[in-house]
């Protein structure tokens, strides 16, 4: 399933990032992609096009390199960024079923962001918390020993948290 998000304009700070790499050529591509993603949370289409122009490389090449690496995202992060650990320990403890449950619940795949921009999903190889397996991490908060049932409740709690926060703000 492909979630199509609205086209965005280039982020204002993109030029200032590129300015740090004035004479950059192809060898700077990955550091540049990483820095842009760090600032924007993902690689937008305009950013990819602009990076290609800056490095004098075809856009297809930038996209090709970026899609090769799991670390790059092409959709903005959601309000809550969900990382699912698929390391060995978590796998043994059933993280595949947890991952499937999350995908079903959010109706998105890894690398995507839900249509309401509430959640984005990422698969990580090992999160370094094998003792808590299977583990997921939402906005840097770890949730230990999750099950396909418990993750639904956890996601729900974040939805409620967001609603409550928005009410207070209003």
């Amino acid at each position: 399933m492909i979630v199509v998000l609205p086209e965005t304009t280039p982020e204002p700070d993109l030029e200032s990032i590129l300015a740090e790499y004035p004479l950059a050529r192809r060898e700077s591509l990955i550091p540049l992609l990483q820095e842009v993603q760090e600032h924007h949370g993902y690689l937008s289409r305009p950013a990819i096009v602009r990076i290609g122009q800056h490095l004098d490389l075809p856009t297809s090449k930038i996209y090709g390199v970026a899609t090769f690496y799991n670390q790059f995202r092409f959709q903005p992060q959601g309000r809550y960024h969900v990382q699912v650990c698929r390391g060995t320990a978590c796998h043994v403890k059933g993280s595949a079923a947890v991952f499937e449950a999350i995908k079903r619940e959010l109706k998105i795949d890894a690398g995507q962001t839900s249509r309401d921009r509430m959640f984005s999903l990422e698969v990580v190889a090992c999160i370094g918390a094998c003792g808590l397996a299977p583990v997921i991490c939402i906005n840097d908060v770890f949730h230990a020993s999750v099950t396909p049932q418990s993750v639904i409740k956890i996601l729900d709690s974040y939805r409620k948290k967001a609603a409550k926060h928005d009410d207070q703000a209003a």
Partner: protein, 573 residues
């Protein structure tokens, strides 16, 4: 020289050359899928692996430079088994629809399955499933048939300087695609079709116009006319066992009539017409301080490339339409009028060595009063298919002459099929236009042959005309960059999108066989050597067209029908 032993026999190798090259010179056939003549090896497919004494693993011969005496075994049991296993793995996820595939019986993957005796499905993989890309007017991509050899990617970037496709993703999910995996039509693709020619499988093909042409031929209300480009007649015979480079224009004309075309015209006629207009435009620019260097405009891939990547050079492009479009325009004006046919009732087909011509014919500038000048474009390959479909063998069909009023051509127009031909024809006519005299020697050897960049200086009544001829857009990029950086000695530049010109076009037979390209080129030179009318301005039918209809080159009518304009394009290069 280094003496190496190939399968027990000594052979002299050039030190430093890749082993695959040595093997080919020795007449030893090692299969390849990813190898591209003239480019650096990629070593991706591993089909060319051989055993080399003292080396533990199998060695890809395409990427192994010969440096010292060694013993090579190309078809040891181990090497052959490795190749067969690779092919078995490649077909494991390949769609099994060979019978319905455009490349059936002309497919390198199928050939390898056959040669290596794969008779069982040892690996039952999940079938590759990708969305077909039918967005382009010229090229259809079917990534599920792709074996990821990467030749299309390398030709597009390294030869053509376009780079609109690349590998996307990785591992079992890898595929070839454009930036953001969008349609080819919104990418920087220039429709040249060089990717199609090098593709070993059915993953890339032209967008076929055969169904439309068949429908028109069966429609009693349509007057179906056809034109064929200069490069086609020296190519199409190959498919019928005739010598490579032999000119079969006569038999092809006869066959086209048997297919049901009402009129058979020769695009070389409008190549002559193009020269009248283009040489006049050049002389006009030279004498009136116009923008120089003037760039030729016959090659539609090149035109889109300038519009996309070098929009600042649009003013340098000749405003002349290509011969295909000039023919289209005079068919639906002068010819329609002469024959008292409503242009709406004419169905105009062209046979081109080119996929970009399909795009060109669909450009909105190429329509007048809502009627397209060209209705369908068939590649050389599609022509072969059409002939086979109707049981026509060019070796059997008697030669016939093309139709008036657009059937007469000179050898100058015919030379358009080879890189340098437009230049040579233009020089002949420009010299005559400026001096009123013919050149003493018509042949300009410096602009002939397969070199990607050729230059010449021609003396026209004391004025030195500096010209350059480039083919392959990578070469064109480098020249345009020089001009952007201040190079100013050139007056006129011929650019052909495909390396070697139209004889190596994207609509020509699969395989990018450089030797065949050279022989097709020789076929055109041979016509120029044998025939007596060698200058476009001496084409009697062209003169008549000017007398009866156009007036003179660059006239108002000429401008309306034979010239065009270009638009900067925003595309993701």
């Amino acid at each position: 020289m280094v003496t190496i032993e190939i399968n027990g026999r000594p052979f002299e190798a050039e030190p430093g050359e890749m082993l695959l090259q040595t093997l080919r010179r020795a007449g030893v056939q090692v299969p390849t899928l990813c190898h591209l003549e003239g480019l650096l090896p990629s070593g991706a497919c591993r089909m060319c692996v051989v055993e080399i004494e003292g080396q533990r693993g199998l060695i890809p011969s395409c990427a192994y430079p010969v440096t010292q005496p060694t013993k090579v075994r190309t078809h040891s049991a181990r090497a052959v088994l490795a190749r067969r296993t690779i092919v078995e793995l490649l077909v494991a996820n390949h769609p099994d629809d060979c019978l319905y595939c455009t490349r059936n019986q002309d497919c390198q993957l199928q050939d390898l399955v056959q040669q290596l005796g794969v008779r069982q499905r040892r690996y039952a993989g999940e079938k590759s499933r990708h969305i077909m890309d039918m967005s382009s007017p010229s090229i259809v991509r079917e990534p599920s048939k792709c074996v990821l050899c990467g030749k299309c990617v390398r030709v597009c970037e390294e030869v053509q300087g376009v780079g609109c496709i690349d590998f996307i993703g990785r591992g079992s999910r890898s595929k070839i695609g454009t930036a953001f995996d969008d349609g080819l039509n919104v990418s920087g693709c220039i429709n040249c079709g060089q990717c199609v020619v090098v593709c070993p499988t059915g993953a890339l093909a032209e967008r076929s116009h055969i169904p439309e042409v068949l429908a028109a031929l069966r429609d009693p209300r349509k007057r179906v006319v056809v034109q064929h480009a200069p490069a086609v007649s020296v190519t199409v015979g190959e498919a019928f066992g005739l010598p490579v480079g032999a000119d079969v224009a006569g038999a092809m004309t006869g066959a086209l009539r048997r297919l049901g075309f009402d009129r058979v015209f020769d695009t070389s006629f409008t190549a002559d017409l193009t020269i009248m207009e283009e040489a006049s435009e050049l002389v006009h620019r030279l004498q009136n301080g116009g923008r120089l260097p003037m760039l030729t405009s016959c090659s539609p891939g090149w035109i889109k490339f300038v519009e996309t990547s070098y929009p600042e050079s649009i003013g340098n492009l000749s405003t002349c339409k290509s011969p295909q479009q000039m023919m289209g325009a005079v068919i639906k004006s002068y010819f329609a009028n002469r024959e008292q046919i409503d242009p709406h009732d004419i169905y105009s087909v062209s046979i081109m060595p080119c996929t970009a011509k399909k795009f060109e014919a669909a450009r909105p500038e190429m329509m007048r009063h809502g009627v397209a000048d060209i209705d369908a474009v068939l590649t050389t390959r599609e022509l072969v298919q059409l002939l086979h479909m109707h049981g026509l063998d060019l070796a059997e069909v008697p030669a016939e002459n093309a139709d008036t009023p657009f059937g007469e051509r000179t050898t100058a127009g015919k030379l358009f099929g080879a890189s340098g031909g437009v230049m040579e024809a233009a020089i002949r006519t420009a010299h005559w236009m400026v001096t009123g005299r013919e050149l003493e020697a018509f042949t300009v050897d410096a602009v002939r042959g397969m070199d990607g960049v050729k230059q010449a200086s021609v003396n026209v009544d004391g004025l030195t005309l500096n010209v350059a001829v480039v083919s392959g857009l990578g070469n064109a990029c480098r020249l345009l960059d020089q001009i952007r950086d201040g190079r100013s000695d050139l007056h006129f530049i011929e650019v052909m999108t495909c390396p070697g010109g139209c004889v190596a076009g994207g609509g020509q037979p699969f395989g990018a066989d450089v030797d065949a390209v050279r022989r097709r080129m020789q076929g055109l030179y041979e016509l120029d050597r044998q025939e007596s009318v060698r200058t476009s301005h001496n084409n009697a039918s062209v003169k008549r067209l000017y007398d009866e209809f156009l007036g003179q080159p660059l006239s108002h009518t000429s401008h309306e029908l034979l010239h065009t304009h270009y638009v900067p394009r925003d595309a993701l290069a």
